[in-house]
């Protein structure tokens, strides 16, 4: 089912993007594009129209929550999974309020990430 599902990875850290990309591609997802900040994310969401977005919360300039709102404004059915670190409870809750479908917590555990994405797309 998930084969060929397109994901847009949003994270300001190259390292994190690489890591996620690795995890996704090894598990049958296709990485549609990568964005390194919220502004790019909103922009690239519109051009690539991915099935799912992984959205880092803390990013310079436009952060993940703003970007989430932007994307949801453009597409009310957009599926955005937030990427958070420990200690970001409040922001995660805010993101959930704003319509995030799920969240994954860094450091990423392959199995959990894939489970979460599978769930989000089912």
């Amino acid at each position: 089912m998930k084969l060929g599902k397109k994901v847009l990875i949003v994270d300001d850290a190259v390292f994190m993007r690489m890591k996620l990309k690795d995890i996704l591609e090894k598990n049958g997802y296709e990485v549609a594009d990568e964005a390194q900040n919220g502004r790019e994310a909103v922009d690239k969401y519109q051009t690539t129209k991915p099935d799912l977005v992984t959205m880092d919360i803390t990013m310079p300039d436009v952060d993940g929550i703003e970007a989430l709102k932007g994307i949801r404004a453009f597409d009310g059915s957009a599926k955005v999974v937030m990427c958070s670190a420990m200690g970001q409870q409040e922001m995660v809750m805010e993101a959930i309020k704003a319509g995030a479908v799920d969240f994954i917590v860094k450091p990423f555990d392959t199995e959990r990430v894939i489970k979460a994405l599978d769930k989000a797309l089912s």
Binding site: S84, Q88, M93, I96, K106, T110, E111, K115
Partner: protein, 689 residues
């Protein structure tokens, strides 16, 4: 850039702390295997360490810490009894972790190979506890206590029942829901929040256990219960909950009022209820090999490494701030006074400023001070390991670990001390049987103490071992071709400081790999200290390290040699005598000597040595210095006086100049070189041979 790099310094500092804590506590655990508080504390430290490593993305380190933590978990649950083999294994892990941290500090990449050996050792222990069946990647699920999950609400109030009844009239169905999160779920609060958000899109959650506040704060284990009012069918509610990730199990049933009044009847819940129709789903994930053969490589970080940091007692910083504020006040007064050309006021303020600056100077030195415990704390563990390796029974007694020294000295101290400790353990302390025969207690004692004495700190290391035998030294020296005729016992014993001299009959990996005590001596010398040894055959050996309290500022005797100004560190100066070049110096066949306290001591003509034109004056000063257990008379032309000087390191280009410890800037802005008396006296000795 990687966010993490910002936290690198903190990470290293805290990792060091946690590792030290672990080392200490594990050592203690060995002697108090039943101390559960200790186990808990160890567990916490390990957990913190793991968390930090994981946050930094250091997978290799995280993995090892995680596996090590499992051991502590077994101790905690009583599945494993603490014994010294396990302790040794844990120590091995801790050592490896320290090494990993060092590698990371050096921006080296970590690879899984580094820990594979330890992991397999740990896995063996785990197997012995869990049985062979333990699946490698689902160990966590195994350890979940298979407590039954029940959706019976325990704290329902009348009001809730009221609401449920009323809702029933309007076509709403109440469901009793219980959810168990994955044991390793992170951010439980938001997780619950997300689950509830999804439910509330379809209805109302009217009651939760624990309370919503606790749930959203994540203050619960893994299970929670709620009552959900909705028009959805049972299947739809189940589907809703199942759409969430990180849920280990859940149960949904139609709310039955009677059930909650009666004694809570528990219905055991297997794994994933009730979708028995598709058991393949959870299985699928498990059967997937989890990053097995993947070689984890950590990305090196780009940041200024080795940013040395120091922890400072807050009260000292507060004092610093106070002094600086005071200084500002007087600066303003000075400003003011100078505008009004009031010389008296300027003088007054200047006095204050000079008082403040000296206080500040003193304070900064204090801020740089660090307790020697920073290095001492790792030694008990080391001696324990040595005792095991050498089949000896010995104990390390530490005293005065709160003694403070300049940070630079403290951090350089561990290497020479380790060397001395190994020496004492290996060569000093005898085997238990031998000790018994000698009438000594079977357990040997090594005592390490530190104490301040005036402007210096003494560190002594004393063992009650066999001491040095001058006869053995003599034989050993002769076999190495050293001429020992006319050598006193004391001189024979001090041959131990001779480069490359080792009396060990066989080379062990503990000590004596040809690196002699001369290396220790050199290191201590580098730190501006001195090393002495006292030994008595069959009684023991004592090493005394004398170190300057601070490195960067020293008391010096400013002198003139010819017309040049030099600084002589005051701590080597025994006394100063005025001499007459012509009358007081005695020329023997091969050297000049001076009679000092009925002892003839060699004379060092610094002007000649440093190739400075000497003054014609026959009146000179002899500075009597003690270097390397013997006195020397260092001749200078003129004394200027005692002064506190700040040592500036010589530029690397000039560091080949052995005769100088460094340089300092003197009052008129000129640079004065600081004589390295030890090196100069050494040179004198060598030139004579």
């Amino acid at each position: 850039m990687d966010d993490n790099s910002v936290y690198r310094d903190l990470f290293f500092e805290e990792s060091d702390d946690n590792l030290q804590q672990l080392n200490d506590n594990v050592l203690e655990l060995e002697s108090e295997p039943d101390n559960m508080d200790l186990v808990n504390e160890i567990f916490r430290s390990a957990h913190t360490l793991k968390g930090m490593a994981a946050t930094m993305g250091y997978d290799v380190m995280t993995k090892l810490t995680h596996k090590m933590e499992n051991m502590f978990d077994f101790f905690k649950s009583g599945k494993l009894k603490v014994n010294s083999d396990y302790i040794s294994l844990i120590f091995k892990c801790l050592d490896k972790l320290s090494q990993l941290v060092e590698d990371l500090r050096d921006e080296k990449e970590l690879s899984e190979d580094q820990i594979s050996e330890l992991l397999s050792e740990l896995a063996k222990v785990e197997e012995s506890v869990n049985g062979k069946k333990t699946e490698k990647n689902t160990g966590t699920q195994k350890t979940v206590k298979e407590e039954t999950l029940t959706s019976v609400q325990e704290h329902l109030e009348e009001a809730d029942l009221d609401v449920i009844q009323k809702a029933g009239v309007e076509g709403y169905q109440a469901y009793s829901v219980a959810v168990r999160l994955d044991k390793e779920t992170l951010l439980k609060g938001p997780r619950v929040y997300l689950i509830m958000e999804k439910l509330e899109q379809e209805g109302d959650v009217i009651h939760t256990e624990p309370t919503v506040d606790l749930l959203e704060n994540g203050d619960f284990e893994t299970d929670f219960k709620l009552i959900f009012l909705t028009k959805d069918s049972l299947a739809e509610v189940k589907q809703n909950i199942d759409s969430n990730s990180e849920i280990a199990a859940f149960s949904v049933e139609e709310f039955d009022e009677k059930k909650h009044y009666q004694t809570a009847k528990t219905a055991p819940l297997p794994k994933k209820e009730p979708e028995k129709a598709q058991p393949a789903k959870p299985e699928k994930a498990k059967s997937k090999p989890q990053k097995d053969n993947k070689k984890t490589v950590e990305k090196p970080h780009h940041s200024n490494t080795r940013n040395q940091s120091i922890r400072v007692d807050l009260s000292r910083l507060d004092r610093f701030l106070n002094l600086v504020s005071e200084l500002v006040v007087y600066r303003n007064q000075l400003d003011d006074a100078s505008k009004r050309n009031s010389e008296v006021e300027v003088k007054d303020s200047l006095e204050q400023v000079s008082r403040l600056t000296s206080e500040l100077q003193e304070l900064v030195l204090k801020i740089r001070m660090q307790q020697v415990s920073v290095v001492f704390t790792r030694f008990p563990r080391m001696v324990r390991d040595l005792a095991r390796d050498l089949n000896k029974d010995m104990e390390l007694v530490i005293e005065g670990e709160e003694t403070e020294l300049d940070k630079t000295v403290v951090s350089e101290l561990s290497e020479p001390l380790i060397h001395l400790l190994r020496n004492s353990s290996d060569h000093g302390i005898e085997a238990p049987d031998v000790r018994e025969k000698m009438g000594k207690p079977r357990k040997g004692t090594i005592k390490l103490s530190a104490y301040q004495e005036g402007n210096r700190v003494n560190i002594t290391l004393e063992d009650d071992g066999k001491g040095l035998d001058p006869q053995v030294m003599k034989e050993s020296a002769e076999s190495k071709g050293i001429d020992t005729t006319r050598m006193s016992d004391d001189e024979l014993i001090h041959l131990i400081f001779h480069p490359g001299f080792s009396t060990a009959k066989k080379v062990t990996n503990i000590s004596g790999r040809g690196v002699g005590l001369d290396a220790v001596m050199a290191k201590i010398g580098e730190l501006g200290g001195s090393l002495e040894m006292k030994t008595k055959l069959h009684v023991g050996t004592k090493f005394i390290i004398k170190l300057p309290l601070t490195l960067s500022i020293i008391q010096a005797l400013m002198v003139k040699i010819g017309e040049e100004i030099f600084a002589v560190p005051l701590d080597v100066v025994e006394r100063v005598v005025m001499i007459n070049d012509k009358e007081d110096l005695i020329k023997t066949s091969d050297q000049e000597v001076y009679r000092y306290q009925n002892e003839l001591i060699p004379v060092v003509r610094t002007a000649q040595l440093l190739q400075i034109p000497d003054t014609k004056d026959t009146k000179k000063f002899a500075i009597i210095v003690k270097s390397d257990h013997s006195y020397h008379a260092v001749l200078v032309s003129e004394l200027i006086g005692q002064q506190e000087i700040v040592i500036k390191k010589l530029d690397s280009v000039l560091q080949g100049l052995k005769r100088y410890q460094g340089a300092t800037i003197i009052g008129n802005g000129a640079v004065a070189l600081i004589l390295d008396i030890n090196a100069i006296c050494q040179e004198k000795k060598v030139s004579q041979k």
